[in-house]
Structures are given as C-alpha cells and as structure tokens.
Amino acid sequence: MSKVKVTIDGREVEVPAGSTIYEAAQQVGVEIPTFCYDPELTRVGACRICVVEVEKARALVASCAAPVGDGMVVHTESERVVKARKNILRLILGNHPLECMTCQKTGDCKLQDYCYYYGVNEAGFEGEVKELELDDTNPFIRRDMNKCLLCGKCVRKCEEINGATAIDFMNRGFISNVGPAFDDPLEESPCVFCGLCVDVCPVGALLPRESIGKGRPWQVEKKEVVCPYCGVGCSINLHIKDGEVIDASAVEDSPVNRGHLCTKGRFGWDFLQSEERLTSPLVKQNGVFVETGWEEALQEVAKRLTEVRQKYGNDALAGLSSAKVTNEENYLFQKFIRELGTNNVDHCARLCHSPTLAGMEKAFGIAGMTNTIEEITGAGVILVIGSNTTETHPVVSYRVKEAVNNGAGLIVVDPRETRLAVEADSFLQVRPGTDVALLNGLAHLIIKEDLVDQKFIEEKTEGFEELKKTLDGYTPEYVEKITGVPAGELREAARLFGAAEKGSILYTMGITSHTSGTNNVLSVCNLAMLTGNIGEESTGVNSLCGQNNVQGACDMGALPDKLAGEHSIEEKDTGLTAVEMMKAAAEGEVKAMYIMGENPLLSEPHLEHVQEAMEKLDFLVVQDIFLSETAQKADVVLPAAAFAEKDGTYTNTERRVQLSRAAVAAPGEARADWEILCGLANKLGMNWDFSSPEEIMKEIASRNPNYAGINYQRLEESKGLQWPCPDLGHAGTPVLHREGFARGRGKFHPVEYAPPSEETDSYYPLWLTTGRHIFHYHTSTMTGRSRGLGSHVPEEMVQVNPEDASRLDISGGDTVEVASRRGKLNARADLTDMVPPGTVFMTFHSSELAVNFLTSDEMDAEAKVPELKVCAVNVRKAEQSH
C-alpha cells in the first residue's frame, strides 16, 4: 500500500494513502474532537466539530471524512479552527437543556468536555428550545431527545451493527429528531435493547435507565468479567460503586465482542443484587427450610449421601453439573461424583450440545465449533440452519450482519421467518424436523451441479462413494415433498452455497434437539466437507453453544461417558445421562441427587415425570444462587456465588478459554461452587487441597491435553486461548482441522431422513416447535430476577399462523388450549406469519407456562438428546378465558 507524508501540528507522519486526517492525527497522538465519527460506522461528516485547517485549502475541512494528501500540512487547533468549534458548540447550546447538574452523562459527555475545553458556557443568543416528550416507558433506556445533537451514531449502530434498524432520522429542520417509526416509544419498535446506541451517544440523550442517579463516572471502578448468559462469552466491564454494580459496558478490545453486547449482557447483570439471592444454607426440617451454618449443612449432605451409598450402592447417586459455572467447578463436580464411585454425572448440554459431540467426533475425530466467531465476517456465504441467531446469540448475528454488509450471501433454513430470514438471499422455510432431508437435498444438488471440491474430497476424506449412493434419491422434488421447500428455491440455495469460495455453516438447537440430532449434525458435516469448507479461515461447521460454558463443562468431563480430555469411559461403565437420571429416579433406582446450578424442573422435557422423579428421591441437594423450582424440592440448599463474585475460567462456543475475576462480593454466606465442593469433598474424606481456582486449573491442564498449555498467567496476558493449546509455547488454535482431521480423514456418513418421533394426526394436527426469546435465557432463573429483562415481554404467547387461526376461529390475544399427547396448557395466541401454517411456536422460559409439560422425552439414540424441538399438538380456543 502506498504511503503519504503529512504534517500535523508540526509533527511529520507517514500513513497509508486513503487514511483520513483524523486517523493520521491519532497516529501522532493528536486528539481531535468528534461527535458523529465512529471508526466502525459509515462516515457522514455531519457535525463538523472535527474541522481542521489545511494549509493552502480555503475552507476548513472535516478531518473525520477528508483523506490526507501527500505533503499536507494540518493545524488542528489554529485560531480559525477554535473559532469554528466554539460557534458549533454555541449553536448546540442554543437549544440544549442545561441540566448538567443532574444529567447522568456528566463527566462522560462530549458536549460538556468540549465546552469545558473551549470555555464555552452559553449560547450567546436566545435559541428555541425543543420540548419533546421523554421516552421512559421501557425498563432499559431513557430517551430524552431534547438533548440529541443529531449526530446519527445511534442510527448507524442500530442499522449497521445490530441490524434491528429500529430508529432513523425523521422530519426536517428544527423539528428533526431521531427515533422509531411513527415516533413510537422504543418499546413498540423493533428495538431489541442491545444498548449499542446508548453507549455511542456522545451526550445524555440516551441513558441506561437503571443507572440514573446511582453514581458519577469518577466514582466508578470498572472490572472485567465474562458474560454469564450465552455461549458467545462476551467480555463485560461491570461498573462498580461502593461494592455494587450500577451499570455495564462492553470491553472494547475483547476479540470476541469488540465493544458490542446484547441486551442480556448489557442490562441483565442486576440479578446479582436481587433480593431473592440465597444468602445462607438451608436444611429442610419437617417440610420447611431452616437457615443453618455451613458446617451443619455440609455435615448433613455428607451424612445423607453416605447413607444412600451404603444402603443402595454408589450408582444410586447421580449429579447434575452446570454449563453456567466455571471450568474449575465443573471439573471438581465430576471429580467429586466420580470419587463417590459412580459415573452418573451429566449437565444440561445434554439438551443441546451432545449431538454435536457425537456427530463431529464421528465425522472429524474431534468436536467443537471449527472456526472463530470473528471469521464469520470474512465468509462468502453463510448458511444458518436451525438457529435464530439474532435472539439466541446476538453478537454472532452482528458478525453475520457484517458479512452480509461486506457482500456475503445468506441462506437461512428455519421453520420460522426469523429476522435473519427476512434479510436472507435465500430463505428455506422447512417443516420442523425435516433437516436431514433438506441437507441431503442440498448435498445432492451440489454433487449434481458439480460444485463439489474434488481435491479436498480426494485428499482429505473418505466414504464419498457411499454418501453419493444415499444422496441419489434426494432429488429436489422428493425433498420438497418432505420439507415443504419448493424445489426451485432449494436449487438456488445449493448454487449459492456451492459456488462461494468460503462457506460458513452456523447452527444451534434447531439442529440438535431432535431425535435425529446426531444425524442432523452428520449431514451438516457432510455438506461442509463436500464443498471443502473445513480447515480454512471463514469456513467451517460452527455450532453455537447455548449457555456460556457448555463447551467447558464438556471439556471438563461433566459427562457420563467421558473424563476431562478425550478419555472415553468404557461402555459398560458409562453413567446415566440427564434424562436417564430422571427416569431412574422415578423408577427408584437413583435415590440421591446433587444438582449444581441447574433447574431441571423447567428445562427437562416431559415435566410431569421430572416432578415425580424429584419427589421420589430419598435425598436431594441443590446448589444455586436462587431458590429455583428445583431447589424448592431439595432437602438441603447450598447458596452459591454468582459469576461476578468468583474467579474462574469459561470456555466459549469457539473453544476460547477466558478468565473472569471476582468483581464484587457474594451476598451473605454464599460461597463459590468450587469452595463448596472442596468443603464437601473433605467432609467425605477425599483430602482435596485446592486453595484457588488457579490451582484447580493446574490439575485440569495435566488431565486434558487440549488445556495443557493453559494457565492463569497466560490467560491474563492474552485475551483468552482457544484449545487445542497443547503446550505453554502454543498460541491456541483458532481454526480446527487445518492440518487435516484428528481422525486421519474426514468421514462422510450417509444418513437417511427419518420422520420425527411423533406424527401429527387428526387429534394432534399441528407441529409445536419451541425456542428462546432474546430477552430471556433458558429457564429465566437469572433473567426473571433482572428488573429489566424480567419485566419486558412478561407474558409467554403461542405464535399461530393467521391461516390456522382463522380456521380454528382464534383471534389475536385469545386464550387457547395447547394440548399434546402428554399434557396441556393455556396461553394467549399471537397471530403472526413468522410461523408457517401448520406449525405453532412457544418459548420455554417461564415457569408459569412450562411448555415442557407438552414436549416429548423421546431420545436421539446416540447422543440421548430429548426431542425438545418438535411435537404434535392440538390448539383450540379455551373454554374460559382467564
């Protein structure tokens, strides 16, 4: 790239041609004020506060937009410049409410800073003051457009990064303004409350509502933690005043989220301070909980577990670990259970991730998202299948958006018209549970149209001929019959995917939570290998984990068939999986359970069984931060510290091990899970002497070869390390399978389409599919206790296509009865063409409306994943509305 020489305030610097004056100034450390400029957004040059004087140029130029020229001589603070800036500031002050005394932005406000710097404190003329109404109806953001400078950064963040495009400029002249269409409040717009606009607003026009009045920037200490919600694993700065979190912001230099968050990470931290946090151990006596000390509670647990072991044997014990707690804690939990002599240990990743483990291990030899989140931005085409990424992994959806902005093609396969589907070049609206047929159909066409990567197939794979045979029958017409996707659309999608140089496939639970989960994963792997989209940057099979430490919990061996690392357990010794544990408890085989940070009473399918099972147990100990539905059934409840209250590591969906340090103290007597486990282990004579998570990591590194090169010091120095990281000199592995596959050759597995475990019939004529809502997270143990997240979208609805609704004589808002072969519940109907005719949709967050009463616990034969995603239901108007 050619370079040019410029002189800025007397300092000479060489910068790449095409850089802006602003960028050149930054290189020599000269700060230029800006309002409308943001490095990741389109340059608009609207506010002109950044003007500078260029020698020989007549007018002042906006440095954020003007490119440098060779030999240019720039003055950033000349008399003319200062005069112009002062004028701009006066004009703004002319109709800006002067409320600095109470404004939350004070101390962090660009207008205030620049006025201070240039000594401007009044307009010098009587300006007309705007009197726009405050938008204060939502729980997250307070909009005061009277303070808006019209810099437009919020509009561009919302459109260019998030993609919600909820707001824009409106009107002209003095009354011009920024906000949602029809000047509606944000709450009634497509806004998803990511807070990106709040964090970029240079003034106090957009403010985080919860923080108002709680502290000034100079009173706040920022501490970095890993987000406790989804598998993206964003880094968050918690803003802490007097030991209390008052706000949060994205960490700018995190390689995962680089300055972005979603609503959960940005606004969902306040459950930490909930009144409902557990603060003392509880022991049930005559049916009621009594607060006790730790000594007594741990003694009780040790005694009861020992009794059960002695009476019924080790395998009468079972433990559920958690994808929400750290690696160290998962490691200790499985170690604890195994030292008690049983392999009955599992965690909720069973519900989403295990088909990925099973499928990828068969196809590639090692399981895990093959590439890095950031690489998505460089893909030529992205296939999103069974993932409502916008809602489940918002920050990943920003990267998809960025790729599309860069010109990537987008194919979305989903039963529902998700937001990404709306933006897609090709949207294939499949019948629920027919993904194998669809993927086989795509593969069929890619072979037929000769879009395969022959060289890759020959050099790196095996089993192609068998695959070809199986795929032969999956003509577009046959596939159309099964999936409902028109043959023509399938063809177009196949061409789009096959023709691109770099194709990246993203999927989540829509692929895995099926009786065909493992087969779904295998067919995704087939498609990626066929097109040579493995082992290179911006390609890959990218499974997105639900919770923030699903990958880690699996790596730590919190699984019935695996120890930490790749060590599989002999089949005869394999323990019970999560769903099997419940069945065994119901049948009286499992007598005692230890549940850490999980809430199976909401998340497991076929809830009635689970409830019965819990009631039949002789002894149940639950360790959690809240008295969850499950904890209420326990004999002993142990209060745990939450994510921001302890040290530890989490492994995000892209295999990045990240260190999160304690930022605040745990409430009352609550303790970190690892501490509780150590205490309990020693009560049971296990002689553990871990004094910190750092020490536990040392043991992990010695057990799991993928973690061998990981320690706290390295994590602290880097921004996380991606496994495999086999030795201390290894920089981590962003792209898997680069040097070939772990199993030697990648293996094609021909898979046939099999219908979902249940069929619709005349009694249960509709498909129910379940999923997640952006404001909520899994079973809402945390989000339900967050003031903002809990109050927004308070009611769970069932989405019904208007066509079905009119046939069933249902209007929007009616209470309807949704019945499956296992149970029924009432909910209000939301008529929307997001769902196709014949399919209804519900989320599984709220305990009032536990949709898992309806779902089936049929399992995928291999990975033992229950089929949460589809079941047959009947929907009718409820007798009585309530």
């Binding site: 909820a166 824009d168 002209r172 949602p180 269409a181 717009s189 709306v422």
Partner: protein
C-alpha cells in the same frame, strides 16, 4: 355535514399489494412506492406503510424517515380540498395573515390541519408567482387572488 364527520375512512390494505407488487425485488424504490401509495390513499396510512415495508423488506423506520423528510408526503389523511395560502413577501405585505386568520375562524383549523369532515386541509406555500394578484391562495390548484377576509366564506362555499 354532521353525519359525515366520521372517523378515518376504512383502509383497504389489499391495495398495498397492487401498489407494491410491481416493485418487489427492485432497488431504490422507496420514493416511487410512497408516491404511489399516497396516490392510492390520498395520504400515507400507517398500516399501509407498515405492510408495504414488510413486503419490501425495508425497515419501517427508514420508510418513515423518508416519508417525513419530504414535504410532498402526508402522514395524516387530508381533506378533499387543499387550501394553500401564499406566505411569500408580496402576499405577506398585502395581508396574507388576515386571510389565514379568517379561514381559521370559519373552518376551525390552522396551518397543517384538516377539518373533521375531511372537507378542507389548510397549508401554506411560498410565492406562487402571482404576486400581482396578492394576497393569493389556491384551492386544489385553482388560484384565487386579490383576496379580502370578507370574500373567503363565499369562496369556501363553492367547494364541496
């Protein structure tokens, strides 16, 4: 007229399909779509804009932004007859504001408003080039010049 003073005319959203379908899959079409919608309905009804935006996969915030930027678009229903009082310099000097005041007195609406029965909408324009006849107003593009407040009632009465 009393019985006509009903709420908004019923909006037939099927017409949105007729307007929008020819534009599906094309680019840079926001303004023509809005123009055609306005032609169809007389203004831009919210549900029609929402439906059009959904069909065209344009964020409705963008569509609203454009619709409120250009003076040619109207977001509220307008009257059958559009009165435009000239506020150019010549008309101003000749007493344009007295003319507007008189209209306001008779119809009970000010600039930018529409009568409840949708008979009239009152607007302002800059010089329309008929300064010799100042003060001037147009109703449905028919010019009326050399106005005096006492001629207004009679002129308005001639529009249904």
């Amino acid at each position: 007229m009393g019985e006509e003073a009903t709420a908004l005319p019923e909006i037939d959203l099927d017409k949105v399909d007729e307007v929008v379908d020819p534009f599906l899959g094309k680019k840079g079409i926001m303004i023509p779509v809005l123009q055609n919608l306005q032609e169809e309905y007389g203004y831009l009804p919210r549900p029609a804009m929402e439906k059009a935006a959904r069909k065209l996969k344009i964020p409705v915030s963008k569509m609203y932004g454009v619709a409120t930027f250009y003076a040619q678009f109207h977001l509220a229903p307008r009257g059958r007859n559009i009165i435009r009082v000239c506020k150019g310099t010549a008309c101003h000097i000749q007493g344009a504001s007295k003319i507007s005041d008189r209209i306001t007195e008779i119809l009970g609406i000010t600039t930018g408003e529409t009568t409840e029965d949708y008979r009239f909408t009152l607007e302002e324009v800059a010089c329309i080039g008929a300064c010799a006849l100042a003060p001037v107003m147009t109703i449905n593009d028919n010019p009326h010049g050399r106005l005096t407040p006492d001629r207004i009632q009679e002129i308005l009465d001639s529009y249904e």
